[in-house]
């Protein structure tokens, strides 16, 4: 299977929703890990080590192929500062996936593999006519990383690994209503930005140390990639004709940072049936200062003499983000119940990178608590992993006065509360 056909085959299976971790990060890279609160940096559970800690890959017992898919179901309640009925999202299910193939040398000195996963993504679709419609009506942000990986065991206790991270596919679709009024009964004026990111490279490196049978320690670093859209499409609908000269853009450029993540993890194996893990992730969200769109092109709506690249009378749109670096704490364990069945549980606490008064409809973020369950059953060389995550975001309120004070009045005043449920299933074949 070529990489390209692989990507095409998985075209329907993309990315996360209201993200499963802070900001627009999605941490659903391994089905076993998903059941254990997302730990994995200090462990060598399976081929997903390529994501969590490439250094641990040589320590993975078997060579194998595995695929996993998750169904992210976000449910949100929003109440406007101005009262009115509770708003709820349109119910979308999005399906972040992961795919790994890895093999090691007989002497277990070397291992290599390829990983495909979706570390960032976000899909939110608001109800028609909701209060924040002039900020956002919907976003669909997708990314697929492809990561060829190698790992080398320096000693039988210490190994290192690295992968070249390729942003193989990135796409964004962002839509909102425009606050101008047309003739009575005409639908809302609307703009849609749709673009694909250019291919970019980064890396993922890790080190793994297992001094005893009962303890392992790992560290990994995944570099930042700036997802860059050049020449994305700008489409207007329902803009009043008399305002055509203020809405002439046909193309946009934008850059979205996919931030670097540094992780530390510890694994405890008090007996051969029990594994416990504790991870800390540090995501450099502070690189996300503003979201800027540059507009160009001329659709002719304003006649021959009108200025090019206009969206609402301006050829640039900037919006303050001012994210802060954020930490996630994770704790999880698994227990081998019978020779075939393993059960898992875990929890995570995710500090939001979004400051008070900066919450946007596209990532209605807040500190989040995650609770996870999982199980695996192995028959022969085949295994099935199931996982379930329940993520509860804290209730978060911002008033119009907060927004004006923060110069963030391009978003909506009110209270958000979100919960996400993510069941997932994986299949693996080891040899």
């Amino acid at each position: 299977m070529t990489l390209k056909s692989l990507l095409l085959a998985s075209g329907a299976l993309l990315t996360g929703t209201a993200a499963s971790a802070g900001g627009y990060q999605v941490t659903l890279a391994g089905q076993k890990n998903n059941g254990m609160g997302g730990v994995g940096v200090g462990l060598s559970l399976d081929q997903a080590a390529m994501f969590y800690n490439p250094g641990a890959l040589t320590m993975v017992k078997d060579r194998g192929v595995q695929v996993g898919v998750n169904a992210t179901m976000a449910r949100q309640a929003f109440r406007s500062q101005y009262g009115g009925a509770q708003r709820e999202l349109k119910n979308n299910i999005v399906t972040p996936f992961n795919l790994y193939a890895g093999f090691g040398s007989e002497d277990r000195k070397f291992a290599a593999g390829i990983a495909v996963y979706t570390p960032f993504g976000n899909k939110v679709e608001y109800a028609d006519g909701w209060e924040g419609r002039y900020s956002l009506t919907g976003i669909d942000l997708k990314s697929i990383y492809v990561q060829p990986t190698v790992s080398y065991a320096v000693t039988d206790k210490l190994s290192v690994g690295a992968g070249m991270v390729i942003l193989a596919y990135g796409a964004v679709n962002l839509q909102r209503d425009i606050p101008v009024e047309g003739a009575a009964g005409s639908g809302p004026a609307h703009v849609e930005l749709d673009g694909k990111a250019t291919t970019k490279l980064g890396f993922n490196a890790g080190i793994y140390f297992k001094p005893t049978e009962k303890l392992s320690i790992g560290a990994s670093y995944r570099s930042k990639i700036d997802a860059k859209v050049e020449g994305g499409d700008v489409k207007f609908t329902n803009v009043p004709t008399s305002l055509g000269s203020r809405f002439t853009a046909t193309e946009f450029d934008a850059t979205l940072p996919l931030p670097a993540t540094t992780s530390l993890g510890i694994g405890f194996m008090p007996n051969e049936n029990l594994t416990l893990g504790f991870d800390v992730n540090y995501v450099e969200w502070s690189k996300y200062k503003i979201l800027q769109f540059d507009f160009r092109g001329n659709n002719g709506a304003g006649g021959l003499v009108s200025p090019s690249g206009q969206v609402g009378g301006s050829n640039i749109s900037t919006s303050r983000r001012e994210y802060e670096d954020a930490v996630t704490l994770r704790l999880g364990g698994q227990y081998l119940l019978t020779s075939g069945l393993t059960v898992r549980a875990g929890a995570s606490y995710d500090f939001s990178p979004v400051k008070d008064g900066f919450v946007t409809p596209e990532t209605p973020d807040a500190d989040r608590i995650g609770l996870t369950l999982g199980a695996s059953y192995k028959f022969g060389n085949f295994g099935v992993d199931v996982s379930g995550q329940f993520i509860d975001l804290k209730k978060r309120t911002q008033t119009e006065a907060d927004l004006v004070a923060n110069n963030t009045a391009d978003r909506v005043a009110g209270t958000y509360k979100t919960r996400v449920l993510i069941p997932g299933i994986g299949l693996n074949y080891t040899f």
């Binding site: 449910r75 509770q86 924040g132 009043p240 199980a375 209270t415 069941p423």
Partner: protein
Amino acid sequence: MYTLLKRTAPALALLGLGLAGCQPELDAPGADKGSADFSRYIAVGNSLTAGYGDNGLYLEGQLASYPNLLAEQFKTVGGGDFAQPLFNQPNQENGSGYLRLTGFTATGNPITANVTTNLAVRAITPQALYTRYDAPVNNLGVPGIKLADIQTPGYGSQVGNAYFERITPAANPLQTYFQRVKAEAATATFFTCWLGNNDVLGYATAGGALGPTAITRTDTFQLKANRIINVLTANGAKGVVATIPNVTNVPFFTTVRVAAIKATFKASNQALSLYIQTSAGVREATDADLLTLTSSSVIGTATSGNPFPVGAGISPTAANPLPSQFVLDASEQTLVRDATTAYNTALTAKANEKGLAVFDANAFFARIAATGIVSDAVNNTAAFISGNLFSLDGVHPTPRGYAVIANEMISAINSKYGSSLSQVNPNNYRGVRFP
């Protein structure tokens, strides 16, 4: 596989339960009437209270009048029905007629046209009279009324104010506005009172050309203000008194700028400048002079027998000065400002004496003019057309403008009476409609 299903069934069942219980619920904000009683609300006022906009009174504006928006919120805490003298007969929804935007000129100036179909005009002599509304009304907003007019007999007759005439009992055409309010106040439990704007507005929009007598004397204003507030509170009703905004903040005076006109003249001939007619003679205009919105249609037009287009000149004696009714010059602005300040002192003092809530419309409109007001990602300003808040006449608000006014009144009510009324969402009400 069977074992797997058996073993994981509880977890899967838990997932199913989890999804069902996943949808969060946020409690609706509580609503409490505090110490006020909104069961019968009446609105006393002028065009602003009637929902006038785009230089006319028509059904869409009436439905978005601030009293109607307030009444909707009052209903959540025991408020009763709120009747307005709507132009709701079939094919009469355009009421008095109004201005609509038809497009922009090549230089970006708005083009407007009068809506003349589906009017509610029932007679054209002795003046345009509108379809009568004889059912009871809670909204007593009468476009054009001055506080000085409230005790004028015949103001509601066919030769008086056509908007008052249509709600004045046909059998009693000499009933004054004051008498009508007194009758309505007898059963009212809550009121808003926003009168007095026209006591200075007419002078201002005519560029001061009517002379200082067009401004109601302060002693007259105070006398009438006291009388109407006394009668509104005579039965213990609570309410809101609104102050008078300084009209020089509205787009009618801030859209056509002296500097811009001068620049246009100089672009054609460096020697030209803008000259204006004032009560003290002809002089060059300064940035302190305000030009009316209506001046844009005369400035630069040709006058037969004068080599200069209207407004242009090279000296006070070699000019075609802009007539006085299009300019509110600095000294005229002082008269307007002083009258507004005196009126507001009188209104505030009386409201405080009666323990009423005060909506300081003057401070609010000044703030709108300085910083605008944001509503859910929409920046609303006092700019003409693009600012969303002022209608095409440059003086009266749009439905969006009336919504933000209603919100300010709700804030004043909540803080005075300890109520917790929700505000309305301004974005549910339109700004200017574009073709």
